[in-house]
Symmetry: C2
Subunit: 159 residues, 2 copies
DNA sequence: GTAAAAGTTAAAGTACGCTTTAAGTCAAGA
DNA sequence: TCTTGACTTAAAGCGTACTTTAACTTTTAC
């Protein structure tokens, strides 16, 4: 019979230095439901090691433009009660991959649009699908498919 | 001898509906020095037609993640006093293209990192350069080149 | 001429993603 | 035990990118 060794828990400063996030950010993420923590009898936070993976994921996600809402949504696919397995992370990977693919497609489309529109110097507002204001307006309607859907929606808050 | 017809100027609501920006955004952009406007004797704004191109550019830039500071910097390459020429826009296109290329590279790197890291299920925090928190920390130091430089810098403000 | 639509300003408000501050509590080593 | 460093909370503050509000003026249409 195997007796499981209890995993050593991490303090705030340990998690902060290992994850690269400020302690205030860790508290903020906890308040936002992105990570969780145990508490000592005195009320101090103690983290499980797997929080580091969640945090690394959060960092990468933020770097490619996901909002915290989106990150929470994706992380919602992970189990809350146990350390995520390979299958758990694989499912997330698939979700995120399609998001990245669509963002990459969008950037390529804009870049190539620039080549043929600004770049060529034709300055034809009527024909240019990237810069024509009328097409931009139309892009919010039902018929426009030049940009991937998420880039045709209104921009999120600050960013 | 050719007498130039004066270009008809556009009202705020015309520019708003043609560009897809709210009137308040137009005022904001003017305050930020991204666009300019003439004034009627009564103080109302009247826009030159080429403001539509600037605005379309701003929208596209925002959609791919440029901040207004960056947009201003790029638009600073355009002449303030005359309607931009092919050469003006071409210069900008080149500037922006390299920015887009680096952002695309970054996304591809992260996506491919996911495939081999999350995707493979190895869960090796020590080896994974995308998700390893120690590598994330190191990425802000001098030696890390996995992510393009601009994605290794701290994230800008909101989002 | 007059009423309604459109425009003006300054200032305040909003959302996101945190950080900073203030005032006090807990944990660990000498 | 004591002191120092780490930690706690609630609340306020900050930067970006705008929008909303309030009070008022200009333009346009009839």
């Amino acid at each position: 019979m195997v007796i499981a060794m209890p995993e050593p828990l991490l303090t705030v400063s340990e998690v902060a230095s290992r994850s690269g996030f400020a302690a205030s950010a860790l508290r903020y993420y906890e308040g936002e439901g992105l990570i969780d923590a145990h508490r000592t009898s005195g009320g101090q936070r103690r983290y499980e090691r797997n929080v580091l993976r969640r945090l690394a994921f959060i960092r990468a996600a933020r770097h490619v433009g996901l909002t915290l809402d989106e990150v929470r949504e994706v992380l919602g696919e992970l189990p809350r009660s146990r350390t995520p397995t390979k299958a758990d992370w694989s499912r997330i990977s698939a979700l995120w991959r399609s998001r990245l693919d669509s963002q990459i497609d969008a950037l390529v489309a804009v870049r190539d649009g620039l080549d043929s529109c600004i770049g060529c110097g034709c300055l034809s507002l009527k024909k240019c699908r990237t810069l024509n204001p009328e097409d931009v307006a139309a892009a919010y309607g039902p018929g426009a498919n030049y940009l991937p859907k998420r880039l045709r929606e209104p921009l999120p808050g600050p960013g």
